[in-house]
């Protein structure tokens, strides 16, 4: 399985945000995006997730389909990725379990039919140490707990590509370690992850790309 990005040019409004970005990412490895604010990290992640149509260049994910991964056909990146942005995607009127149960049913595909929804939700809460808060409305939780609940979404549905934009924001070191462990386990299962971050994260195996702040042209 492979993610191929070829000379991507991204524009926000009519300002050029990323110029001629190219990389390929193999299954089982990660990519860490670093760079100052406004260097286009978030824009690049949103373009990879399919929210933003690149001005030119293309993003393709190859090797989806059969378990042996030889079929070259590519499909919508948006349908095979988890996208974690600055917001958690959590409804405060629903309890933690209800939130995750909804995401489990909504985002799941054939590969998830192995375990039941409740099982996957329980495991995800377990991994992010939220099982005590399963029946608490998300509105009562702290920012850190909400962030962990948002990240727990990664585990309730199997998606090969993880796109994480500053995932460690409002996480304490303990929770950050949980996240890094989850990412590394995802990579060892053959998945891919692209993480935009300021802090050094012990993601293995991963290589880094640093984006430079674009000089604006009139």
């Amino acid at each position: 399985m492979q993610l191929v990005a070829e000379n991507l040019v991204l524009e926000r409004g009519n300002r050029k945000v990323a110029n001629d970005v190219s990389f390929t990412l193999e299954g089982g490895s990660g990519l860490v995006l670093t760079g100052p604010n406004g260097s286009g990290k978030s824009t690049l992640l949103r373009a990879l997730a399919g929210y933003l149509r690149p001005a030119s260049g293309s993003v393709r994910i190859l090797g989806i389909g059969g378990s042996d991964g030889d079929t070259g056909e590519s499909c919508e990146v948006g349908e095979v990725c988890h996208f974690v942005g600055h917001l958690d995607g959590i409804k405060s009127h629903l309890t933690a379990a209800e939130n995750l149960t909804f995401w489990a049913t909504y985002l799941s595909d054939r590969a998830d039919s192995g375990h039941s929804v409740a099982h996957r939700v329980y495991d995800a809460l377990e991994v992010f140490a939220l099982n005590a808060l399963a029946d608490i409305p998300a509105g009562y939780m702290s920012a850190g707990q909400k962030r962990r609940l948002g990240l727990a979404r990664l585990l309730v549905a199997h998606r090969p590509l993880w796109l994480l934009d500053e995932p460690t924001v409002s996480l304490d070191t303990g929770s950050a370690d949980i996240l890094v462990k989850a990412i590394n386990r995802h990579l060892s299962d053959g998945g891919m992850a692209i993480v935009a971050t300021h802090l050094p994260l012990a993601i293995e195996p991963a290589r880094g790309i640093s984006l430079v702040r674009k000089e604006a042209q009139a």
């Binding site: 929210y51 948006g78 409804k91 009127h93 629903l94 049913t105 909504y106 948002g150």
Partner: protein
């Protein structure tokens, strides 16, 4: 399909939990129906003649109130971005949310119309037909309204702006709703109006999700 039902169930659960949306719409509905006789005078036979019109227009305005929240609450907490990465196309997401709005707001408003008809001295025989036209017409209200909600997702004067954008598009629904109701009051063309009203609703159920999804996609960049 399970994703569609899951989203529909979640939205209905939210509207029950949040309760407010329906409460304000019903409250506004009753308020408009109470104010109009105060303004137009308490002459009962005048009121009974224009009662269907008052009820229909009050329903359109009341539905508008709760439309603003259809997408903006999901937009604010980031849920909309994640919904877009679902296997289901964005048009179906819009369809599920508009359907949830119709079930949680459109139907209750249509069902309370007769209760308010009492205050307007509406002829009892008209009640079933009035409710029928409202039930048939309100899907168009929710789905066309969803386009308005999607367009005004990030603009400042959201609520007011939706009214300006969407009310002109409600004219066909209002006219055919009234024509269907008036059928009983002796004006010809009842069944034709009801069929056209149903056609309007079905067309908006099919076409509006595309316009609303396009508007959402443009704003998610």
């Amino acid at each position: 399909m399970s994703a569609f039902l899951a989203l529909l169930k979640r939205d209905l659960m939210l509207s029950v939990r949040q309760g407010g949306a329906l409460g304000t719409a019903l409250g506004f509905y009753m308020l408009v129906v109470t104010l109009l006789p105060l303004g137009l005078g308490q002459d009962l036979n005048l009121l009974s003649r224009i009662a269907p019109g008052i009820l229909w227009i009050a329903l359109l305005l009341a539905a508008l109130l709760s439309l603003g929240r259809v997408f903006s609450s999901d937009h604010e907490d980031g849920t909309l971005d994640v919904l877009a990465t679902g296997r289901m196309p964005l048009e179906m997401v819009v369809g599920a949310k508009a359907l949830a709005h119709w079930i949680s707001t459109g139907i209750p408003l249509a069902l309370t119309a007769p209760v308010l008809g009492l205050m307007l001295n509406l002829d009892i025989a008209v009640y079933p037909l009035l409710m029928a036209t409202m039930l048939v017409g309100t899907p168009a209200v929710s789905f066309i309204g969803a386009v308005g909600a999607a367009l005004t997702l990030r603009s400042y004067r959201g609520g007011l702006l939706i009214a300006l954008l969407v009310l002109p598009l409600y004219v066909p629904t209002l006219i055919f709703g009234m024509a269907a109701v008036n059928g009983l009051l002796g004006v010809s063309g009842t069944s034709a109006a009801m069929l056209i009203l149903a056609a309007l609703s079905l067309t908006s159920v099919v076409l509006c999700p595309f316009a609303a999804a396009a508007a959402l996609r443009v704003q998610m960049q």
